[in-house]
């Protein structure tokens, strides 16, 4: 997993609520047995019409917006547990997702793939959408060490929560397997006692 400390980038506003993982990566693309290549099909059915032509109305196809940060409506990542959704977003080049609410499994999956979910208040979220609408070149800075997010142009910034353990993992690029393997003796002792 890639480490993450701080990022300043322009952002893509995706002002839709309840975006489920079936939209992020439709099921028919889940047949691969590797983690690579999912980025090509992220939001597939919103980016392309059924006949394969590009949907120019969809924000990801709007060249005025680009960047490593996706700003999305409330309850992002609900639905299926497919980690392919996180792989697709990472594969597309995103590093941070900002929303006012994340579904549980998605949040865990993205943290396990070096993709930082930043949960902000409803009010702050609409300020960001507003700022991006006014000026698509607006830059957002996410500082994991300080746990803050700030938006260029509006003097507002907000702090966000992250599990301290997960924060350490993100900052260092560690994953849970390393930690769990270091606890093997204890796990075996637990098993032995459970059998008695």
């Amino acid at each position: 997993m890639e480490a993450f400390a701080k990022l300043t980038s322009t952002a893509i506003p995706l002002e839709i609520e309840n975006i489920d993982t079936d939209q992020i990566i439709p099921a028919r693309f889940l047949k691969a047995t590797d983690k690579e290549g999912f980025g090509d099909n992220v939001f597939r059915d919103w980016r392309f019409h059924e006949d394969g032509s590009i949907n120019n109305k969809f924000i990801l196809n709007d060249t005025t917006y680009e960047g490593k940060i996706l700003v999305a409506g409330n309850n992002f990542g609900c639905g299926s547990s497919r980690e392919h959704a996180a792989w697709a977003l990472v594969g597309y080049g995103l590093k941070v997702i900002v929303s006012s609410f994340f579904a549980d499994i998605f949040k865990g999956n993205s943290l396990n793939n070096g993709l930082l979910p930043v949960q902000v208040s409803e009010g702050f979220l609409s300020e960001i959408f507003h700022a991006l609408k006014k000026d698509p070149t607006t830059k957002i800075t996410v500082d994991l060490e300080q746990q803050t997010i700030s938006v260029e142009g509006i003097s507002l910034n907000e702090s966000f929560e992250i599990d301290p353990y997960k924060k350490t993992c993100m900052l260092n690029g560690y994953d849970d397997i390393d930690y769990l393997l270091s606890k093997k003796t204890q796990i075996e002792a637990f098993e032995a006692q459970k059998l008695n």
């Binding site: 489920d20 079936d22 028919r28 047995t33 059915d45 547990s81 865990g108 396990n112 796990i187």
Partner: protein, 460 residues
């Protein structure tokens, strides 16, 4: 202070806790399938880590599998490759696999309970969000991502923060024609699709204690649709009776001892929950959804609300419905009875009971997809197959099928499907397909009439 059912099972599985951090939770049973496991196997292989407890893993092939001609090689190259990888991985690591065609093959959440793999008081995980189904047994069961599948492979444990507790109590008696599916669709329509996020839910009250195990599984299955990681129902005599004698259930004295332990699991009377909801059974009617998330449900005979927000408008545009309109009499061309929500024998009995002696409307394609080989066999043994065939329904072979349309079972662009599955997301049943969630009874009635009807009028 007393403990909840969830506390008791959770606490019994904590190996260790990090100071101010997550806990190490021991996982009793790990279920895997072809779609979310290959990358986890690969990860371990690349890092040279062995599978820690292969005996505690059971695999099945379900998401990608065809539901016709299962004896022939799978046509789709990518699907075939994914299934082949699962077989190879299981063989290499000594993991039990119920591959396509095996007598125990089926949807992971149908297969494990019916084999007695799922037992009260356990912790069960699977790389599939509807793992919550197993909570019907008083089990902590939840879906995980592929990185976590790899963690369980490596250590039989997960690093987790203990979720908060939520209890939903429904007392009273359900009306005629109101099925477990209606109960859960009703609850989600009332509390919304993220009311449960961060919580583990317990369903309590007369409605659930009187419900069959199949019904309880339907309810717990959809816990994830209100955002909860999982849902549980306290084990009782109904649970013990169901588990008893199943292939992998404990036997004899062992079983008796287990029951004694299982009886200690229900929440203590003085247990406190972080959040509670109460509903009255008499308020629940047969339900149907009109939108693109499972919280957009109304009673069958009701009207679509008239809301202003953008998500609502977007959903209605996708579904091609108008605010304020009724769904009764809407012509429907596709009916799907299947998925881990409603593909157990009880669901097919309900459908068959309604369908018997009738014929489906000529415009309707009606697919019946059993949850497992065992359910399929029982459908035949009980004579339901003949009823369905005489009515013009198509009984297919087990699998996830049109629930997520990864295989050939897709609903065409723009078509409506009354479906007993759990998700009505855009494109869930095929690109541009429009899903209307309902119970097996409402689905069966729709197939007969070729349009949505108020099934309660039929019953009275």
């Amino acid at each position: 202070m007393g403990k909840t059912l969830f506390d008791k099972v959770w606490d019994a599985h904590v190996v260790d806790a990090m100071k101010d951090g997550p806990q190490i939770l021991y996982i009793d049973q790990h279920l895997i399938h072809e779609v979310t496991s290959p990358q986890a196997f690969k990860e371990l292989e690349e890092r040279g880590i062995p599978i820690f407890r292969p005996n505690q893993i059971v695999a099945t092939a379900d998401h990608n599998t065809p539901t016709l001609n299962q004896h022939l090689p799978v046509k789709d190259l990518l699907s075939r490759n994914q299934l082949k990888q699962l077989s190879e991985n299981c063989e290499k690591h000594g993991i039990t696999l119920y591959a396509l065609g095996h007598q125990y093959n089926g949807i992971v959440h149908v297969m494990a309970p019916e084999l007695g793999i799922t037992q009260p008081g356990m912790t069960i995980v699977c790389g599939d969000s509807h793992t919550s189904t197993h909570g019907a047994f008083g089990t902590i069961a939840f879906g995980i991502g592929t990185s976590q599948v790899a963690q369980v492979f490596a250590s039989q444990c997960l690093l987790l923060t203990k979720p908060k507790s939520l209890r939903i109590t429904v007392n009273g008696t359900l009306k005629k024609g109101v099925l477990p599916k209606d109960v859960i669709l009703y609850i989600i329509s009332q509390i919304g699709t993220n009311a449960g996020t961060g919580y583990f839910c317990e369903y309590a009250g007369e409605v659930f204690s009187q419900m069959s195990m199949e019904g309880r599984m339907t309810v717990c299955n959809m816990s994830i649709e209100m955002g909860a990681r999982g849902g549980m129902i306290a084990p009782d005599d109904t649970t013990f009776e169901y588990v008893k004698g199943r292939t992998f259930a404990p036997k004899g004295l062992d079983f008796e001892q287990k029951i004694a332990y299982w009886k200690t699991l229900p929440s203590d009377p003085d247990a406190v929950f972080d959040k509670e909801y109460h509903f009255d059974a008499s308020d629940i009617e047969p339900m149907i959804t009109y939108g693109t998330n499972p919280g957009m449900g109304i009673k069958l005979s009701g009207n679509i609300p008239e809301l202003q927000d953008a998500s609502f408008k977007k959903a209605l545009e996708y579904m091609n419905f108008q605010p304020g309109e009724r769904l009764i009499d809407k012509p429907i061309n596709y009916v799907f009875i299947g998925s881990c929500t409603n593909s157990r024998i009880e669901d097919f009995r309900i459908a068959a009971h309604f369908v018997k002696g009738k014929r489906k409307a000529p415009n309707v394609t009606a697919w019946l997809v059993p949850g497992s080989r065992q359910v399929e066999a029982q459908i035949e043994a009980e004579g339901l197959k003949t009823i369905f065939e005489e009515a013009g329904f198509q009984l297919r072979q087990p699998g996830c099928s049109a629930c997520l349309a990864m295989n050939d079972d897709k609903i065409p662009q723009g078509e409506y499907c009354v479906s007993t599955s759990n998700r009505n997301f855009e494109g869930r049943q095929g690109q541009g397909a429009r899903t209307i969630l309902a119970s097996p009874l409402v689905a069966a009635a729709t197939a007969i009439e070729g349009k949505i009807i108020d099934v309660t009028q039929y019953l009275n």
